[in-house]
Amino acid sequence: MAEVILKNLTKRWGDFVGVDNQSLDIHDKEFLVLLGPSGCGKTTTMRMIAGLEEPTSGEIWIGERKVNDDLPKDRDVAMVFQNYGLYPHMTIFDNIAYPLKVRGTPKADIRPRVERAAEQVELTQFLGRKPKALSGGQRQRVALARAIVRTPKVFLMDEPLSNLDAKLRVTMRAELKHLSRELKVTTVYVTHDQIEAMTLADRVAVMKHGVIQQLGTPDEIYNDPANLFVAGFIGSPAMNLVRGSVKDGHFITVDGVRLSTIASEDRNEVILGVRADDINVHEAGAGDIDTPIYAFENTGEASFLTVVWGDQRVIARGDRHLRKEQDDVVGLTLNPDHLYLFDPATERRIHL
C-alpha cells in the first residue's frame, strides 16, 4: 500500500522528449489510468515507475522512499505487460510462483498462494500447462495472477487488454475492475482506449506529447474537458468540434449556419464542442435547424446521423427506433446546457 509521486519527471532520447517535466500524485489505493494516443509518453511514464527506464531528470517516490536508484526488483511493484511477458519454458504454476520464488518465500507457502491467485482469475485447471497451450485471454489471466500472487506496493498494467479480441476485452475489463476493487492496491494502468479509462479509473490522466493535458475523474474529463484535445479524445463518437463565431447570444458556423443559443459574449473565432448525445433529432421543422442527412447509420442500439455544414461534419445520435434515409431532412436542436467553447489559438476551453 503506497502512494506514487512523480516530481518533474522527464525522459529524453537525444532531441526527442518522451515525457516532459511531469508531476503527478497517485493516491494510496487509487486506480489511475494514463490515457493517450501512441507515443504520448504514457508507457514511458509507467516504465520509469517500474524501473525499466531511467528518467533523464526528476524524482519518483513510492511510499516513503525515493526509488530513482533502485533496481526494478527492489521497487516492490508488479507489472502486467502488453504481451503478457510469460516465461514460455515454465508451467503456468511456475510462472505464477516465480515472483514468490525469487523473493525467497518458503516453499510451503508458495503452493497455497499460487492456488489462491489462480482461483481468483479462474485458472486452476491450467496450472500444469505451458503458456503456449493457452488462449490469449487465458495467458492474460496468467499475467494477472502472477501480479496478484503477492501484494506489491503498486500494480502497473501496460495495455493489458489490447491484445484480446473485442468481446473478450469487455469481459476482462469487468473482471479487472472487480479484482481491483477487491485488492485495493494502488494501480497505474496505461491504455489508449478511452472506454477502458472511463470504466476502470478512479482518476484519468489524459496525456499528449509527454504532458498531462487533464487529470480528473472520468466524469470530470468527460463532462468538463480542459482543452480541445481532451474533448476530442474522450467519448465515442468523438465530440463534434465546429468552427464558427458567437454573435448576439448565438453560435454561427463559419458557413453561416445559425446553430444554437449560447450563453457567451460575442467572439470572433471559436470552436464549439457538442457531443452527439446532446444533439436532439426531431422531424423537419420541429428543431432549431433543418438540415439534410449526409449519412444515416443504424447500429442497433442507436442511430447516428451525419450532417454536413460547409466542410464540417457533425454527428448526432438519434433514438434506436429512428429510421431515415440519406437526404431526408431532419430538425436538430443542440442542448444548450452541454455546449463547450474552445479558443482555436490556445486550444484551451473557454468557460461559459
Partner: protein, 290 residues
C-alpha cells in the same frame, strides 16, 4: 512427358552429382577399409581381410588411441571455451547489451581467415625467436620467458586450442546474438520486476530460452572440432611427437604418408560414428517441432 516423370528427370543431374562426389566415394572407402589397402603394394586394394583393419586400430595401435584421446580433449576444450567466450560476447553485443555496432563488425574478422592461415600465423606468433605471443607471455609470466611453445607437448596442445577458440568465437557469437535477439524482451523485464537479480534473470529466463540455439551451437562446434585438420597440420603437424595428433591428422598420416589407405579408411569410418550421432542430434534440434 507427364509431370510425374518430368520431376524425376529434373532431379536426376543433382542426384548424379551427389552420387559421384559423396555416395560413391563413401562406398569405396567402406570397401577399402576391408582390404589390405597398401598404396605401394599392387593388388592389395582388392585383397580382402574383413575387419582386421578395425581390430588392428582397436587392439594393436596405441597411436590410434592417442589420437582419439587428443581429439576428445581437444573437442571438449575448444567447444567449452569457445561457447563460454562466445556467450559472454553475445550478451555484451546483443540488443540491449553494453557494446554494439562497430565492435560487432570487427568481431567477424577472425572468422574471415582460413583455418590454415590461422595455423600459420599462430605458429609465427609463437616462434621462440621473434613471436609476438611468445614475447608477450614471456613478459607477463616470466616462467614462460624461455619456453619453446611448440616444442612442449602440453604447451603445443594449448596453442592449438587457443588458435581454434580464437578462430571460432566470432561465428558462435553471431549465432548466439541472433538467439538472444529472438528472446522476447518483456519476459526479461517481467523477471526483473518480479524481483529477480541480474544473475537469476539470466539463469531462469534468458538461458532456458536460449537453450535450443545453444544446443545447436554446441553440436555444430563439436562436429567442427572433431574433424579439425588444416589448422593442426599447419601449426604443429601433429607434433611434437604425436602430442597434437587429432584423428583426422592420424588418418591423413596413415593414408597419405604411409600409404596404408585401407587402414586409414577404416579409422575414417570409426570417426563417422560420433559424427552421425552429432548430426542426428543437430537435425533433431534444428527441425524440432514446438
Amino acid at each position: 512427358m507427364r509431370d510425374n516423370t518430368l520431376k524425376y528427370v529434373l532431379v536426376l543431374p543433382a542426384v548424379m552429382v551427389v552420387f559421384a562426389t559423396a555416395i560413391w566415394p563413401l562406398m569405396e572407402s567402406a570397401r577399402l577399409s576391408a582390404t589390405v589397402g597398401r598404396l605401394n603394394r599392387p593388388g592389395s586394394l582388392d585383397q580382402y581381410i574383413g575387419l582386421e583393419n578395425y581390430t588392428w586400430a582397436f587392439f594393436e595401435e596405441p597411436a590410434f588411441w592417442n589420437s582419439v584421446w587428443v581429439t576428445g580433449i581437444y573437442t571438449i576444450l575448444t567447444v567449452g571455451l569457445t561457447t563460454i567466450f562466445a556467450l559472454g560476447l553475445a550478451l555484451l553485443l546483443a540488443p540491449g547489451g553494453r557494446l554494439r555496432s562497430g565492435v560487432q563488425t570487427l568481431l567477424i574478422l577472425p572468422f574471415a581467415m582460413s583455418p590454415a592461415l590461422i595455423g600459420v600465423s599462430f605458429r609465427f606468433m609463437f616462434n621462440p625467436e621473434f613471436g609476438l605471443f611468445d614475447a608477450f607471455f614471456g613478459a607477463v609470466m616470466p616462467p614462460l620467458a624461455d619456453v619453446s611453445w611448440l616444442a612442449d607437448p602440453t604447451l603445443a596442445f594449448a596453442v592449438c586450442v587457443m588458435a581454434d577458440v580464437w578462430g571460432w568465437i566470432p561465428f558462435l557469437t553471431l549465432v548466439l546474438i541472433g538467439g538472444l535477439a529472438s528472446i522476447p524482451q518483456d519476459t526479461i523485464e517481467a523477471a526483473q520486476v518480479d524481483g529477480a537479480s541480474g544473475w537469476r534473470v539470466f539463469k531462469d529466463v534468458t538461458l532456458p530460452q536460449l537453450a535450443p540455439v545453444l544446443a545447436v551451437v554446441i553440436i555444430l562446434k563439436s562436429i567442427f572440432s572433431l574433424k579439425t585438420f588444416d589448422q593442426i597440420f599447419m601449426l604443429t603437424n601433429g607434433g611434437p611427437g604425436t602430442a597434437t595428433q587429432t584423428l583426422s591428422h592420424y588418418i591423413y598420416f596413415n593414408g597419405m604418408k604411409y600409404g596404408q589407405i585401407g587402414y586409414a579408411a577404416s579409422v575414417a569410418w570409426l570417426m563417422v560414428i560420433p559424427m552421425i550421432l552429432l548430426t542426428y542430434l543437430y537435425a533433431r534440434f534444428v527441425f524440432r517441432k514446438d
